[in-house]
Symmetry: C2
Subunit: 368 residues, 2 copies
């Protein structure tokens, strides 16, 4: 009996996945990690108010969520000083990136990103048949000028930049992003991924008047709710409305909607998290420095540490830390792959990192 | 400044949505419904074990879910006597239907369903450019013979049938479905939506050897977790693997995965729900009969009541019940739209239904 008749596009797709989860690594190792500092989750967790709200909502999970996310959008609009019509809520930025790509990209359409930027974005672009044109990082930063120039060259329909950047942690100032938007080629949409934007105090103001700029935000990072899958896009109302043509209207989790609303309303908790993250960044930098390694400046809840070698050394270090119970990740593409990336941890977790760092480094260097 | 360059397909899509949520209706009315019996949710809720598991997991929502849903798939495999390789877990059947359509359907590809069957399936088909060929219900049942014959005629790549059926509630016996599968045209995939299958004791056994049959199941109905967004597909492992090319790997909600696992392990609760649903169905049938109306036989957690008129009468009845605080829905397409559809409720909720039914009916009949 013959197989399903998959589309030509699907037949051409690789079976690879963007990331292997830490749980799969744990199953392969036959034991759990002692500390989980690889996925840029917030170990500081959600606001206690959000935890309580989600726990209380557990008994009401028999109801579908409001498909319009009315209350959450209203609260976000109030908090951000925009209108609900400027907001599309979705199942994390990953889900929204998939929809964004689907709205714009068909087979052969050009998309511009940086070599080594967010792999899940590329996964979606490839999944809809787009052609990725990648420009290099410059000084470990995504480079707006090269992105825009390349987009002009290839007539890109979509440009991706993360600011602050993942996996390198740097941030461009608002003036740089404003200039990038001002220079946006006529046919290109700019996806400005601000997943880590809540860690930064001077983001570009939210004007949302440009018809081809969308800014992605999330409750997964600073708000500590990665497992809850709540992200949102901020854009011109016409652009927001386009998502209604393709989104999964009843796709939101009800308890997550309620939890996100509670998290947003606890800005004091967010302040605590930002302070604890800053302390953790300093500590990770100090651990690296104690071993003669340089931590890159970070505007996020992770620190990227230059191992001072090549990708093999960094891979060996990720493996050596993993063996010692510390889950971290690393950039995929050279020259960024000379680094490892460590999420901000609590003091006790960073004690474990500190405790094993030297031995792991020695093993990684010996393996070279 | 010009708009985003949407794909031709997206430009052609209507801005309509499959359903309006009850919350939007409540906002329009300026007051809440007294009882919510319109979305085929389970008012009996999730297993208390599942509620406890989700509440406990709320504090751990800082972690992404396992992208492989390993533990949930292992438990499902054990429960269903298949292997984890036969299972794809996704964000509700709605999410999985979107992926299924994306795998198979491109612009112009033929898809067969029944006129008035699940609108969200059609939404996905249209969203990927598919052409829907709809055959009529026969005696208020989807008709496997017409579906297969039409699929052969139009060289369909995908056939949809829900068994038990939504919105009419009937069920075909396993022999009828087996025959449908045996007669499946060579190029067609059969999507057998068994969202309500947990209410039925004699479903077709799970052989999962056919390369072009996928059976959709969910925790949204009998397990009472619609808001948690956990569905799964059962199919040949090759077919399951294709979903890995397009699914949102980190899209599952962590607490929902844990809750679904707990729900599955509480089959005693499922038994209670089935018993309570059967009692509620009888009660709804009796309320209808007391007003001279006929309830259709139901194998689900809702009862479809023939109003004995046309779509206008049924629409007037839905509105009249809504005004009195009772949220119900109705089929969209004639001749099924002569009916209204009422979800199983608790005794106190059905007391409200009974209390207002006569006045609502009189108002609906007068409005004609």
């Amino acid at each position: 009996m013959a197989d399903p008749r998959y589309t030509d596009l699907v037949q051409s797709l690789p079976a690879t996945v963007p990331f292997v989860g830490p749980e799969a690594q744990e199953r392969a190792m036959g034991q759990g990690f002692r500390v989980r500092l690889g996925a840029n989750e917030s170990v500081f967790g959600p606001s206690p108010d959000a935890v309580r709200a989600m726990a209380t909502a557990a008994g009401d999970q028999w109801m579908y969520a409001d498909p319009e996310s009315h209350d959450l959008k209203a609260a976000l609009a109030d908090h951000l000083d925009v209108t609900p019509a400027h907001i599309v809520v979705g199942e994390g930025i990953d889900g929204l990136l998939g929809l964004l790509v689907r709205l714009l990209i068909g087979p052969g359409d050009a998309v511009v990103t940086s070599a080594g930027a967010y792999p899940t974005f590329n996964y979606h672009v490839v999944g809809f048949g787009g052609v990725i044109h990648a420009v290099p990082y410059v000084d470990d930063m995504e480079d707006p000028e090269s992105l825009v120039a390349k987009a002009r060259d290839v007539d890109a329909k979509l440009i991706y930049i993360a600011n602050p950047d993942n996996p390198m942690g740097g941030v461009h100032g608002p003036d740089v992003i404003a200039e990038m938007i001002a220079g946006l080629p006529e046919g290109a949409v700019l996806c400005l991924d601000e997943a880590y934007g809540d860690f930064v105090d001077d983001l570009l103001p939210l004007e949302l008047t440009h018809p081809r700029v969308i800014r992605m935000r999330t409750f997964s990072k600073a708000y500590g709710m990665a497992g809850a899958r709540v992200g949102y896009g901020l854009a011109h109302p016409d652009f927001v409305r386009a998502f209604d043509k393709v989104r999964n209207h009843f796709g939101m989790n009800r308890a997550s909607q309620i939890g996100a609303l509670a998290a947003l309303q606890d800005q004091i908790w967010l302040g605590h998290v930002k302070r604890d993250v800053a302390i953790a960044r300093d500590r990770i930098g100090a651990i690296a420095a104690a071993h003669g390694l340089r931590a890159l400046p970070s505007a996020t809840n992770f620190v990227t540490v230059d191992m001072g070698g090549d990708g093999d050394l960094a891979r060996a270090m990720v493996a050596a830390l993993g063996k010692r119970g510390v889950f971290v990740r690393m950039p995929f593409v050279a020259p960024q792959d000379r680094c490892i990336r460590i999420s901000a941890g609590r003091p006790a977790q960073l004690d474990v990192l500190e405790e094993v760092f030297g031995a792991a480094l020695a093993e990684a260097q010996a393996a070279k």
